[in-house]
Structure formats: structure tokens, C-alpha cells
Symmetry: C2
Subunit: 176 residues, 2 copies
Amino acid sequence: MPVPDEGTRWLTEREQRTWRSFLTANRLLFDQVERQLQQGAGLPHAYFEILVRLSEAPDRAMRMSELASTSLSSRSRLSHAVARMEETGWVRRRPCESDRRGQIAELTAEGLAQLEAAVPSHVEEVRSLLFDALTETQREALLEISDAIVDHITRGDPPWPVAPDTPGPGPSRRPA
Amino acid sequence: MPVPDEGTRWLTEREQRTWRSFLTANRLLFDQVERQLQQGAGLPHAYFEILVRLSEAPDRAMRMSELASTSLSSRSRLSHAVARMEETGWVRRRPCESDRRGQIAELTAEGLAQLEAAVPSHVEEVRSLLFDALTETQREALLEISDAIVDHITRGDPPWPVAPDTPGPGPSRRPA
DNA sequence: CACAACGACTTGAGGGCTCAACTATTCCCG
DNA sequence: CGGGAATAGTTGAGCCCTCAAGTCGTTGTG
């Protein structure tokens, strides 16, 4: 690969291979999970995760910002997502009484039903794409590795609390 | 595949934890990589990968469909991406002489320069987000795990060749 | 208390991606 | 060879997401 620099800590041959294989595995895995969920349940994986978090909250309701944090969404993304899912009737929004700036998102019965219907085939997909590919030793290693990455990236930082619009994932914008 | 229920092979507690940690690590990692590339170089990671593959090809040129395969893009995605990067002058397209249906994408000098400028900080990002988080043992394990997933998912399938529009990743479409 | 700083969301423009057509070639086979 | 089937690539609509800016409510300080 290109090599102008000098001070850069380049990757070793083996690290390169690891990174590329990791990238490939991820794309293959998540693209398939995404497709399966979209075709089977008609929702993107990010929406699915939001519904899962909501379903696990007391009263199946949560403040928007807390929901954003636990579902690893930016505030903006969550706003758009909840707006959409409100249209389809899976989620309802109501004002927060203790803080009038706030909104509380609540999973509707319909949303819960939708979620429960989507879960089995999703689980099957995850098992067959990921866990079936690994030995028990590798599964354990994967947990440790994942935890290590999470700890490393969130080192010290609000393990989950959220900054301005910060928590949000990635970019956009056109090339030039 | 989908199973009403009962027959579902649920995840164990530990598998659940593994899957969620894996998801979290992936989001944190890729969102950050994406953002860094977008802000630093003004291109999305998918575009970056396309440029990398092109830069490694003989004459820095490749057939569209081959490029789609090696960069894990759907044909459609690649078409859009190349069209955009052609506008910005990083890539050029010319007809393929041996097969008049075909097109050959070629990395321009400008595109190569752009890519080389983007690489160092990208490498640094990958190192600091991923490899710095892991022990040597974990790095080795990650390579094995990734390879295992790739092999499993592509078992038998065209290891890379490409079906209709198939190779493409995921879905879209609205909830209901 | 007034007012600035901050926090919680929302909104809209812009861009990337998928899916589903659609065009143009090339292949294959009777 | 003639024509259907497969292949290469493109295009457009629709959706999700990001960024940046905007609206309100809350807090803290002189």
C-alpha cells in the first residue's frame, strides 16, 4: 500500500491481514443480518436495537437521550428513527413531566409484538452466521477481544453517557 | 430458516453477552474510522476501500465487476461510487475493448495522491483503535476468528465471484 | 431576578446505499 | 445462424444517517 510517510506506525504484514479479514467478516456478517431483518421484519438493524432496548426498560419506556446512549445512536438518528416508528405505530412519544425539555419514548403493544415476531429468525441468523462458525475457544476469545476494544475506546470516557450530539456514529458528505 | 418458535436455537447467556459486546465494539470502531476518514480525507470508508483495491491492481485499473467483488460492493453501489469519484477526478472510466458491455475503472494520478494522503492517519486510527487495545495473543485470535467467519459465510459459494447483483450488502426500505 | 450558558430534542439538506427496473452485449445451443 | 438466457453495467426512487442549525426549557451566577 502507499507509503509516503515516515513517522507513521505502519501495520505489519500480519496486522494488515488481520484488519482486512476482520473487515471482510464484518461486512459479510452485518450485511446479511441487515438484509435478513429488513426483508423478514421490515426494519433496519438499528431500529431493531432500539426496540430491544426499549423492551428491556421498565415500563418499556425510556428518555430519548438515555435510549440514544444505550442503543449507540446519535440523538439525531434516534429522533428520526423514533419519528418513523411512531408513524408506523410501534413507538409512542410523550413529554417528560419532571423535565419539560424531555421526551419519553414508549414501546407500544404493537411494537412489542412486531419485535417478538422478529426475534426468532434474527437469533437464528446470528447463531448460524457467527457462532456456528466458531469453536468454543474462539467464542470465548471473541468476547474478551470485544470487551477489550470497547474498554479501550471508551477508556475513562462516559462509558455510555452522552455528549452534545457526540455519541453519534459516522460521517457522510461527498468526496470533494 | 425462520422458525415460528419452540425450535429456535436461542443464544446462551454468554453468547448474548458476546454478541452485544461484539456489536458495541464494531459500532464504536467503525463509526470512528468512518468519521475520521470523512473528516480527514472527505471520503467514506467504502470509497477508500475501492481506491485501495484500484491502487493495487495492475495499471491501477480494473473491470467494474471485479472491482465490485474485491471491494465487497454491490454492482449498484460501485456504479454510484465510481460515478461520484469520476466527478471529483479521482477515477476515470473507459470502455473495455474485449467485452463491449464492460467498463474499466482506472485510478487517476490525482486519485492516487488523494489516497496516499489519506492513508497515514487512517492507519494510525486503525492501530490506535484496534491493535493497541489487544494483546499479541488476542491479535492472533482475531485473525483466526475473522478467517473462520469469512470461510463459514462464503462456504463453497463463489469465494468472491459475484452473482447477479448479489454481492451487495444490505437492505433499506421503510418499516411498514 | 435577569441573562447567559447549557442541555434535550428536532429539523432539513445532502449524500450513500439498496432494490428493482432497464439497456446493451455476449453466450449457448438446437 | 437465430433467439432466448445470462452477464455487465447504469439509473432512479426511497430510506437512513450525518452534520449543522434551530427551538425550548433549565441552571447557575452576579
